[in-house]
């Protein structure tokens, strides 16, 4: 099974270049190739859930270990990366399928699909690679294609949002690069597993603390945590809707939160101060995001602010696990907190992707994003309305939808770990989220129509309807992850990867456990 790993990067890359070359001859090639490749990738990603050994290592170029020293670049497939690969490619498939109908009204279709494939290739690379600098390169591939995709409408707002995103993203990338350069200076290696061993031997170090703060700032900017969130509402609301679903659903997770989790659990030695900093950033994002979201009247902008808030839940859960591990508290509570965070991350990909696709369908049919100008859409667009209802219940944590269980896990872990304030905040934020989504429901979907021309809008076309239905079913279906049988296949390996922090290095460096 190891031999299949590089296909996860090769397929989307070759798809991007094939589309760019042949779309002059065959106009439809992008719309056919992209969903097809994404479907293959999704199957590949899910195949890795049933791998023989816990960790698979792939040496690119055949550069094996030399006297126990890693000389080449490795791809590592373990519980956490396989979970990320699965949600990236699943969302990629659904969003690209949705795009086929949606993107017809734009010009330059071929660039859209080529950039889409490049973005997926970059994200797959980020979650697979075991090399710090290689991670930076894949990260740049993913975010540079997303810069172009945000500006795809080339109107005033799109250009301004893209410029803001690029400047902040560029600064973030350079801060990350500074951190990587200092790590290389301090340890003399770039392999994450090797750095972990060297850092553990060297012990505490002022320079490494500085690097940790740099990396939190850099990846926090990519993940739009609250002091660094300024670009997200503009970028995510200006992009074409399938791209908003990809950006909010997976990009901020793959290049932001995943990198924070991987580096701070598996590479750095856990320290109380840094863990507490991450937890506080998570809590502030959770509260601040939802407070900023309540006052919004632009449908997609409101969803974008909720992304900040929901990612706050994820970082809060994972951060609490870090704090508990670093002070040597109960391992079970740490497992619960991290499992809650990861579970919420998967759920957020599904329901936030669905919400952005709903917003796209509404915009596609009515031509507006302003909630005050809508109304009565549940009669016109029953499918969109029904799927929106399921997603909004999931995001506000109403049982039996998936959001309820992941939030419950986080809150239980917070109470058991002694973070009473965080538990109260999580409950309050959940209630405000519900209020905010009921507002959308009240203004957009029920009541009388406030549209200027009182005609009936039809339902969105089949190509847009099918991904929405699949995601709505997943909103309910992912609740099953709470059952031990499914949890052991999908969620527990990822939690184990994080909880056994330095065991990550052993299979990669060929050490005996």
């Amino acid at each position: 099974m190891t031999a299949w790993i590089p296909l996860l990067v090769i397929l989307p890359l070759s798809g991007a270049f094939l589309i760019a070359i042949f779309s002059g001859m065959f106009k439809r090639i992008g719309g056919i190739l992209t969903p097809l490749f994404m479907l293959i990738l999704t199957c590949l990603g899910f195949m890795f859930f049933f791998r023989e050994t816990d960790v698979l290592v792939y040496h690119i170029g055949g550069w094996e270990l030399y006297n126990g020293i890693p000389v080449g670049i490795h791809f590592v497939v373990d519980g956490l990366s396989v979970l990320m690969v699965a949600i990236i490619n699943l969302m990629g498939f659904l969003a690209s399928f949705y795009s086929v109908s949606y993107i017809r009204k734009f010009t330059g279709e071929k660039y859209y699909y080529a950039l889409f494939c490049l973005m997926v290739a970059g994200m797959n690379g980020v979650v697979l690679t075991g090399d710090l600098f290689n991670m930076f390169i894949f990260l740049e591939i993913a975010v540079i294609s997303s810069y172009a995709l945000v500006a795809f409408g080339i109107e005033r707002e799109e250009l301004e949002a893209s410029f803001k995103y690029q400047v902040l993203g560029g600064v973030a990338s350079l801060v990350i690069l500074l951190g990587i350069a200092l790590i290389y200076w301090n340890t003399g290696t770039l392999n994450i597993a090797d750095i972990a061993i060297v850092l553990k031997e060297n012990g505490d170090n002022k320079l490494i603390s500085f690097v940790q703060v740099l990396l939190i700032a850099g990846f926090g900017l990519k993940a739009a945590m609250i002091p660094f969130h300024a670009w997200l509402p503009d970028a995510h609301s200006s992009a074409p809707s399938p791209i908003s679903a990809m950006l909010s659903g997976v990009l901020i997770k793959a290049v932001g939160v995943y990198a924070i989790m991987r580096l701070f659990f598996n590479m750095f030695t856990l320290s109380y101060e840094i863990s507490m900093l991450i937890t506080v950033i998570g809590a502030v994002s959770m509260v601040g995001g939802v407070l900023l979201a309540v006052g919004q009247w632009d449908f997609k902008r409101l969803l974008a602010y909720h992304s900040i808030s929901q990612m706050g839940y994820v970082v809060l859960g994972v951060g609490m696990g870090m704090v508990i591990l670093s002070v040597g508290g109960s391992r079970d509570v740490a497992v619960l907190a991290i499992a809650g965070g990861l579970y919420h991350m998967v759920n957020h990909a599904v329901f936030k992707g669905l919400l952005f696709l709903n917003a796209g369908a509404v915009e596609y049919k009515t031509g507006t994003r302003m909630l005050r100008e809508m109304g009565g859409l549940s009669n016109n667009m029953p499918l969109t309305s029904a799927t929106y209802f399921s997603a909004s219940m999931a995001i506000s944590g109403i049982p039996p939808f998936n959001g309820f269980f992941s939030k419950l896990l986080i809150i239980i872990a917070a109470v058991q770990g002694g973070f009473y304030l965080m538990a109260i905040l999580a409950v309050v934020v959940s209630i405000i989220t519900l209020a905010s989504f009921l507002k959308v429901h009240r203004y957009a979907f029920i009541g009388f129509s406030r549209f200027k021309n009182k005609k009936m809008f039809g339902e969105a076309p089949f190509g847009m309807g099918l991904p929405m239905v699949i995601l709505a079913v997943l909103c309910l279906g992912l609740s099953l992850l709470i059952i031990p049988f499914f949890r052991d296949i999908f969620l527990s390996p990822a939690v184990n990867t994080l909880i056994h922090t330095l065991d990550y290095s052993q299979p990669i460096l060929g050490l005996l456990p």
Binding site: I137, A151, Q296
Partner: protein, 112 residues
């Protein structure tokens, strides 16, 4: 040590430019300065006293090399910087065409 600190100061100069300038093109230049300071820092990290260029030919077989890995990293960063700068400038030109100005105070529409 002073050289490393100068690199870091150059990084901060670029950051200062990004934060305080009002002109779109000057912001792009600030990002470029930050990138070049990091390239310098990477090359300095790889420097070894009395090291020669890391090219293996018969005459240099026995001598001491500087670290080639940061040099490879710098090349990669230059390529990435090329893509980022081209992208930024393309957007800047488009912005100029739409708004007729490079001043970000007049471009600002999105807020809240």
């Amino acid at each position: 040590m002073i050289l490393y600190i100068l690199c870091f100061i150059l990084f901060l100069v670029g950051l200062y430019g990004v934060i305080t300038r009002r002109n779109v093109i000057k912001i792009v230049l600030g990002i470029c300065i930050m990138e070049y300071s990091l390239n310098l820092l990477l090359i300095l990290i790889g420097y070894v006293d009395e090291g020669v260029a890391p090219i293996v030919v018969r005459e240099t077989m026995a001598s001491k090399f500087v670290d080639p890995l940061p040099q490879a990293m710098v090349l990669t960063v230059i390529v990435i910087g090329l893509a980022t700068t081209a992208m930024l400038l393309a957007i800047a030109i488009r912005v100029y065409k739409k708004h007729g100005t490079f001043d970000i105070r007049e471009i600002k529409n999105l807020k809240g």
